[in-house]
């Protein structure tokens, strides 16, 4: 009977990757891509954008692997890079998004909100917000992270997160009201 093969830890895979083993890095990616894709999917508008953002995130992970000290779990470190990359993506694409037409999007928030419709409406409304407003709403309200977690992921202070969240909610309300009036 053969002995069970232990899976290498993240730290071991990092060591192998730094030594030039691409297959070890591929294994790291396989382990963490689900989490990264779920974060990026909140900001991407199609599969192509999603792929671009995720590649950008993992390229940064690869380039900064030497700097990983192991003070926090590797998953958290990757999530932090993912959130910051998404923020950069939002900032880079903000101008293009502002021109999305309102036609065909009717906003009515009743007691029974259809989830798919709500997601569509929210997705559109968020395109009208700034990058940091969008990021903070996504992390706090859609990903249901705590203020502390958002602070750790973004590098903002907790009070800063609260202020930005308050402003973001107000901005979102205005966008939804304005489009409802039309």
């Amino acid at each position: 009977m053969s002995a069970p093969v232990d899976e290498p830890t993240n730290e071991r895979l990092i060591q192998f990757t730094l030594a030039g083993d691409d297959e070890a890095f591929a294994e790291l990616v396989r382990r963490h891509k689900r989490k990264v894709f779920s974060i990026a999917a909140r900001f991407a508008h199609n599969d192509h954008e999603l792929d671009d953002i995720c590649q950008e995130i993992f390229v940064k992970v690869y380039q900064n692997l030497k700097g990983f000290r192991g003070e926090a779990p590797f998953e958290h470190w990757v999530s932090r890079i993912a959130v910051r990359s998404c923020y950069d993506f939002l900032r880079a694409t903000r101008r293009a998004r502002q021109n999305v037409p309102l036609d065909g999007i009717e906003i009515g928030v009743t007691d029974n909100v259809n989830p798919a419709r709500a997601a569509e409406v929210l997705r559109w409304a968020m395109t009208q917000l700034s990058a940091d407003e969008r990021l903070v709403i996504t992390l706090l309200e859609l990903e249901e992270k705590s203020v502390r977690e958002v602070a750790a992921l973004t590098g903002w202070s907790e009070s800063n997160v609260k202020v930005r969240a308050h402003r973001a909610r107000n901005a979102l309300k205005k966008v939804l009201e304005r489009s409802h009036e039309r």
């Binding site: 691409d22 890095f25 591929a26 909140r42 690869y62 928030v109 909100v113 709500a118």
Partner: protein, 98 residues
């Protein structure tokens, strides 16, 4: 719109889980191809020039040695090349009477 309505909207939107499985297909392969591509080092011109410095030094030394060791070169001025030989002949003719 009030906070309650907004929260309902968030709650409904949270229920939608985006399916990323299709986008994840073959992701490692695409990523590794890009990583390998970016790993090819870019060497700036200054670095190339610095690496070629020993070759430049060898060339300069060789030219210097050749310049010192080579037999004396003739005049480089075109006029003196043409006239120089005629002056010598004139002198020989004068002294020898040929």
């Amino acid at each position: 719109m009030n906070d309650e309505q907004l929260n309902r909207l968030f709650k409904a939107a949270r229920a939608v889980i985006s399916d990323t499985e299709r986008a994840e297909l073959g992701f490692e392969t695409r990523l590794l191809a890009r990583v390998r591509l970016e790993r090819v080092p870019f060497i700036p011109w200054a670095v190339i020039a610095w690496r070629l410095m020993p070759a430049f030094v060898v060339i300069v030394v060789a030219v210097g040695v050749w310049a010192i060791a080579a037999p004396g070169a003739g005049p480089t001025d075109l006029r003196s090349v043409i006239v120089g030989d005629q002056e010598e002949r004139t002198l020989v003719t004068y002294f020898t009477g040929d």
